[in-house]
């Protein structure tokens, strides 16, 4: 007898609950973290695994990543060469390596920075961190982030002291070791806190040694008053892997968060950005570029909450989809009552190169204040015939001309990334995918 989709979801849910009980008895967490784990699993019971047509997963088929129980992996050995390959030039003395979500001091080097590290388990002794994490768990709407919190025990907290800034960017390298035997799941968790007037350049990179893994990551960034973050996230997992990452950004008065996302795609990648512009004058820039071929998928889910007046948010996404690939953007800007003089822009451009590819968009606006300027735009199209013709009249072959046009489509966003080493790397690898 075949089981229905609903039955298999129910089975997976109860399997996860059992697994959680086992997890707690094995790890015997301290009181603070135990409370967090428990409230997260309670939240999971409310949220449940997404069913088909769930509004948050309209364009995403989560079948592969909801097959609990999960086999968790906490870090096998990784060759140093692999690490070296993925550390950007200039970050050699400011790199944090997490292997399968576990911080590896021997592979990391933060001598070139002024940041302070602490396991989240210890950071929970600080009242503000504790109450922050408790409230995020209580209000969590992403079931995968919920699972991350339910099984949280290896998280890392990075403290950037007030009024500090370092020349070289800090790189967090998430390595997934994967497994040839069966699918493993990793739960990286990082919390970054910036003090007043601190500046941080942050690069987060996901890479995999071999396939067959599901990385379910959560990153919290608390940006203090007048502080600023230049952030780049590079999803360069193994093609045979699944990726879920939730980035929750909380912006204090006059703080800035400038983010760029670059995705190589794999079996399923889902980025979830939850941004709270909590106090007056906060500013968010969020760019995303993905270049997808074969059967790769990248889905972006963005929720931006304008909770205070005079905040600015600006988003731009560019996706190139070829072959049987799929991309989707589900972005909502919410302007709360009282958040007057908000300025928010959102632009999504899709370049479709194949009839078998899919590009779906859902740019939403929810506005509860009147004195605002909010716009969004979305386009889906293909290579402009006139531009192609122009290049051909200049003696370029169709192939080269197409390559040039598709590459420059994505490159215009890559160029906005603040780190030259990352730009160069993306141009050499991500854009390489467009060469036939």
């Amino acid at each position: 007898m075949t089981t229905t989709a609903a039955e298999s979801t129910d089975q997976a849910e109860s399997a996860l609950l059992d697994q959680h009980k086992q997890f707690l008895s094995e790890t015997q967490p301290a009181a603070d973290i135990l409370a967090l784990n428990e409230s997260a699993i309670q939240r999971f019971e409310v949220l449940k695994f997404p069913y088909r047509k769930h509004e948050m997963y309209t364009f995403v088929n989560t079948k592969d990543i909801t097959a609990a129980p999960y086999v968790f992996s906490y870090g096998a050995s990784v060759a140093e060469d692999f690490i070296k390959k993925h550390v950007y030039p200039g970050c050699e003395k400011s790199v944090l390596v997490l292997v399968d979500g576990v911080y590896r001091e021997n592979l990391s080097d933060i001598s070139g920075t002024s940041v302070r590290l602490m396991p989240i388990v210890e950071a929970l002794s600080q009242a503000d961190i504790k109450s922050y994490l408790e409230s995020t768990v209580a209000n969590e709407n992403d079931v995968f982030a919920c699972i991350n919190s339910a099984f949280l025990n290896h998280g890392l907290m990075i403290d950037v002291p007030e009024k500090t800034q370092s020349e070289s960017p800090l790189q967090i390298l998430h390595v997934s070791t994967g497994s040839p035997a069966g699918k493993v799941t990793t739960l990286p968790r990082v919390l970054v806190r910036l003090g007043v007037m601190a500046e941080l350049k942050l690069i987060v990179k996901y890479a995999g040694v071999q396939g067959n893994y599901f990385v379910n990551s959560v990153l919290d960034v608390l940006v203090g008053e007048d502080a600023g973050v230049a952030f780049t996230q590079i999803q360069q997992d193994n093609g045979d892997a699944w990726h879920c990452s939730k980035n929750r950004i909380v912006l204090d008065r006059n703080s800035r968060f400038h983010a760029s996302n670059a995705s190589y795609g794999n079996k399923l990648t889902r980025h979830h950005y939850e941004v709270h512009l909590k106090e007056t004058g906060a500013e968010l820039w969020l760019n995303g570029v993905s270049v997808l071929t074969d059967e790769e998928q990248v889905h972006n889910f963005v929720r931006i909450h304008h909770a205070a007046p005079h905040c600015v948010s600006n988003q731009q996404f560019k996706n190139i989809v070829d072959d049987h690939s799929r991309s989707s953007i589900d972005g909502t800007v919410i302007v709360n009552e009282g958040a007057q003089l908000t300025v928010s822009d959102q632009l999504i451009n899709n370049l479709m190169l194949s009839d078998n590819a899919h590009a779906d968009n859902k740019p939403n606006l929810m506005i509860f204040a009147d004195d605002v300027k909010c716009t969004h735009g979305a386009t889906i199209g293909q290579i402009n015939e006139d531009q192609l013709f122009y290049l051909k009249t200049r003696g370029l072959s169709t192939k080269i001309a197409k390559e040039l046009l598709t590459k420059s489509f994505a490159d215009s966003l890559i160029q906005t990334i603040a780190f030259p080493a990352v730009v160069e790397d993306l141009e050499n690898t991500l854009l390489k995918k467009l060469e036939s």
Partner: protein
């Protein structure tokens, strides 16, 4: 009080509902409740052929398995579907020869609404199939339309006289189980309009229907079916007003359109149902309507234009299924919400054929404590090569207690498509108002001018008579306490 002291929301504040009266005529109303016997009774009362009863029962069976949609961005207390009466008709009278025989009370109602129903008004060149509650009471211009072969009659009559057309097309665009409200409608609909435009015919006049909800606590379930054969053209107007009641009234209509090769159809609506008390939000009509057109034949075109200014809750997505090659779908909408009104409205453009084109222009204005959402879907299937879509949805906010939302769904599975979507939300610019006032134009007129300008793209799509009515309606909603 000087004009200057008025805030924008003061000016926009709802005027007392002009059409809030209730006509006292005897009604033949069923007891409250819904079950198979009620459906059989409706069908029996209408003397319907067997296929209609089957259709209704099938829909009812589906409806029982369905859940009321919760995804729209609207909030209302649960509706008790067993606490509604599913049939209400003016007491049956013998077939009427002329308008003189119509209940003078009804005629007075139409007069108040300004429907050009009497003989002299034939000059207005509008044929009216006036639906009073659920039964059509008079049809004019029928003869003139019949001369060119156009059928324009109540759907109950069409079921008797043209059963083969009804059987072929009813449910072909909106299947019985399409959604909760359309299933309910399919099971219990009492009347509505039927239009058939024969091949190679251009309708000599614009067709028009006025709907009115009359008997208290009677859900009105209208069913409209319009078929345009090859190379035909028609423009259809629909206008709505309802009396003022305290209990919420449910209106779940279904409109189905089919256009064949080279046919063109234009559907225009002005809706001004009672929106509830502007202070408390009490009362008002729940307007849960399924409207869908299907461009079956190549080169056909469907154009929806709507001006929504009433109803406590609007849940309405006039859609186009662009099935034939080179077909065109258009959607023009103005939705004004005021008081405690809630609107979740928009369109769906489903591109299936090659070289299909669609455009969406949506203008939302929210004032006072209202909530206005645009929800639209543009879907391009794999075979719809060279499909083209342009969408624009702008929202205007008046006052800091209202809200405006935009939920576009853009799905593409074809590499030769071009889809553009843009949306903006803002308030009336103070600079513009200042400029008007500086030129000696009152704040009220300035706001009316700005809003009419904001909606101009939609208004110009309306047929002349309707454009005037729509402008009047917006101005009516705008004019108020300026002293």
């Amino acid at each position: 009080m000087t004009a200057k002291e008025n805030t924008v929301s003061d000016v926009l504040e709802d005027k007392k509902y002009k059409y809030g009266f209730k006509t006292l005529i005897e009604s033949d109303t069923f007891a409250k409740g819904l079950n198979e016997d009620v459906i059989r009774a409706i069908s029996h009362k209408k003397k319907e052929p067997e296929f209609m009863l089957k259709f209704r029962l099938k829909a009812y069976e589906k409806w029982l398995t369905m859940k009321e949609p919760r995804w729209p961005n609207v909030h209302y207390p649960p509706i008790d579907y067993q606490n509604l009466s599913y049939y209400s008709a003016p007491k049956p009278k013998k077939k009427l020869e002329s308008l003189d025989e119509v209940d003078p009370e009804i005629l007075r109602t139409f007069e108040k609404l300004g429907i050009p129903l009497d003989e002299q008004k034939k000059l207005a060149n509008v044929a009216v199939d006036a639906v009073f509650d659920s039964v059509s009471v008079a049809t004019t211009h029928k003869k003139k339309l019949m001369e060119v072969g156009i059928i324009f009659c109540p759907i109950s009559e069409a079921i008797q006289e043209y059963p083969e057309l009804v059987e072929e097309y009813m449910g072909s665009v909106v299947p019985v189980g399409d959604n909760f409200y359309s299933a309910l409608n399919s099971a219990v609909f009492t009347d509505g309009s039927f239009v058939y435009i024969p091949p190679d015919t251009i309708s000599p006049m614009e067709l028009s229907t006025y709907f009115r909800i009359n008997t208290e606590e009677t859900g009105q379930f209208e069913r409209t079916l319009i078929i345009c054969a090859d190379n035909s053209y028609v423009s259809y107007l629909e206008g709505c007003t309802a009396p003022q009641f305290d209990t919420n009234q449910l209106h779940a209509a279904v409109v189905e359109l089919v256009t064949h090769e080279n046919a063109e159809f234009k559907y225009s609506t002005v809706q001004n149902w009672y929106a509830g008390d502007p202070e408390t939000g009490k009362g008002g009509v729940y307007n849960f309507v399924t409207k869908r057109g299907k461009c079956v034949g190549n080169n056909s075109k469907i154009s929806w234009t709507q001006v929504e200014t009433g109803s406590a809750i609007t849940w309405k997505y006039p859609s186009c299924i662009l099935q034939g090659d080179n077909t065109v779908g258009e959607f023009y909408s103005v939705a004004l919400t005021n008081g405690h009104m809630q609107a979740d409205t928009g369109t769906k453009m489903i591109h299936l054929g090659k070289n299909t084109k669609s455009s969406i222009i949506s203008k939302g204005i929210s004032a006072a404590n209202s909530s206005n959402s645009y929800r639209g879907q543009v879907k391009v299937s794999k075979n719809a090569t060279n499909a083209r879509n342009y969408s624009q949805c702008d929202s205007m906010l008046v006052g800091d207690k209202c809200s405006a939302h935009t939920f576009p769904y853009i799905e593409s599975a074809n590499s030769s498509v071009q889809i553009e979507h843009e949306a903006s939300t803002s308030k009336i610019s103070e600079e513009q108002l200042f400029y008007f006032e500086q030129r000696g134009i009152s704040r009220e007129n300035a706001i009316a001018a700005v809003i009419n300008g904001f909606c101009k793209e939609v208004f110009k799509q309306l047929p002349m008579e309707f454009a005037v009515e729509a402008q009047k309606l917006l101005t009516l909603k705008l004019e108020n306490s300026v002293g």
